[in-house]
Subunit: 94 residues, 7 copies
């Protein structure tokens, strides 16, 4: 299992077909392109200068959209994941 | 439903025709161009280093103007939205 | 009515003729050029990391000078305005 | 009267002749060049994130030297002034 | 022994063969490439502006993935190590 | 007299001959070059966001070495000085 | 004696021969190259915005490795030293 650090989260990407079904389409190619995925793990939160740990707003199981160019791709035990910071998450799809 | 994170808000763009009607026109093309829209969802606010969450000043239903180049466009359930940070909002149209 | 957010203010530009009359002239074209206007609306102030809202120093009705290249122009109900941050205001003309 | 905002101050430039008299000369043209002037108005100070206003160290009447390239020139009621931030002041000439 | 300072940690790199076995593969060469290793030493944590020392989230013995381009390589007593900051660690492999 | 502001100090440069005598020599021309001087005036210290003034570590009379490219040269009452920030001072020569 | 200011330390470089003996070798020339030395003096620590002075983690007598390109070289009383900030120290060799 991969356990992200701090304000990082791990995303399992939603396949292109599923993505079309959920209706996330980019109307304007000149804009930053969002992408969709499921959160499979979240860090324990960022620690501030006051020594306080701020819990994340996203939780495991959330479906989220995020900037396409954010994060780092990894393949772990045969599956592809994306590790990004919570701040790169634009919205939760509820 | 899309639920924005932190200090992000979701905007439904005002159509070009409606925009002219409301009177937002750009007198000088050399300047940054504002755009108009309705707020359809707001994040729960940014968390500061003190661990305090600062509620947003814009609310769902507000009509706002913002920088044209700010944010990320998404299409969700057939409608186009823009996700941007509250700081990109210039003013509320009351 | 346009209601600016946070530390933003809305300026009604002073016409070129009036500006000459008030005596704001740029002696050196190599310098940043200030411009003059009336404040027609002010935001409720910036919220700091301590969650404190800092009221603005400029008020509606103030005549101010500011950097010519600051802010975003908007036309609202037939009039032109400039939306800028208080920090772009150089001085109040009293 | 011009009333500067925050940590800004207004300077009346010392004429070139007077400047030579006071003995501020630049020995090395490759260095940043300081300039001399009289403070004619000071802002009420910068407001910190704690909501505290920090009074300025320079006062009206001070003779100061500052970086030549700092600030914005304005002409007001026939006189030329320079508006700059206190941090651009290098030293007070006592 | 090498003792890293502050928020730095020392990594013993996992060999390429072992890396393939653990299944970390880069599906997209255009992305930042993560790398895998074992933590052999950790600093005592970063000291904040409040004078508080924040203990690290990674511990000696952890297997971690991190950005390939992060850190500084050293060879010490015949072995190669990488010294990097905890923030360059993407996730712990559990 | 020149009174520096905040965290600035005023240095009287040590002559090239004297400098060689004290033994500060640059072994590698590719590195940033330090220079030597006497502190003739110090500011009252930087004011932090907490409104606290932090007294300087260097005092009038100290002999210091500092980065050659730091600061601003001024000539005052026939003597050359350098005004720089305390952070540009590398060490005190005791 | 040279007394470094704030978070600066003074290093006596370890000779190339000694360095090879201690086993610090750079396996990859494309990476930032660390260098080795002995700490001969340390500053009294950085003062934070809270007015608190944070003591350094390195002490006189420590053997440290640091980035090769960090710091400023000085020759004092016939010996060469390097003055750098503690944050440029990667690890203490124990």
């Amino acid at each position: 299992m991969l356990k992200p650090l701090g304000d990082r989260i791990i995303i399992e990407l939603v396949e292109q077909e599923e993505k079309t079904a959920s209706g996330i389409v980019l109307p304007d190619s000149a804009k930053e392109k969002p992408q969709e995925g499921h959160v499979v793990a979240v860090g324990s939160g960022k620690v501030t200068d006051n020594g306080e740990r701020i819990a994340l707003d996203v939780a495991t199981g959330n479906r989220v959209i995020f900037s396409k160019y954010a994060g780092t791709e990894v393949k772990y035990e045969g599956k592809e994941y994306l590790i990004l910071r919570q701040d790169d998450v634009l919205a939760i799809v509820e």
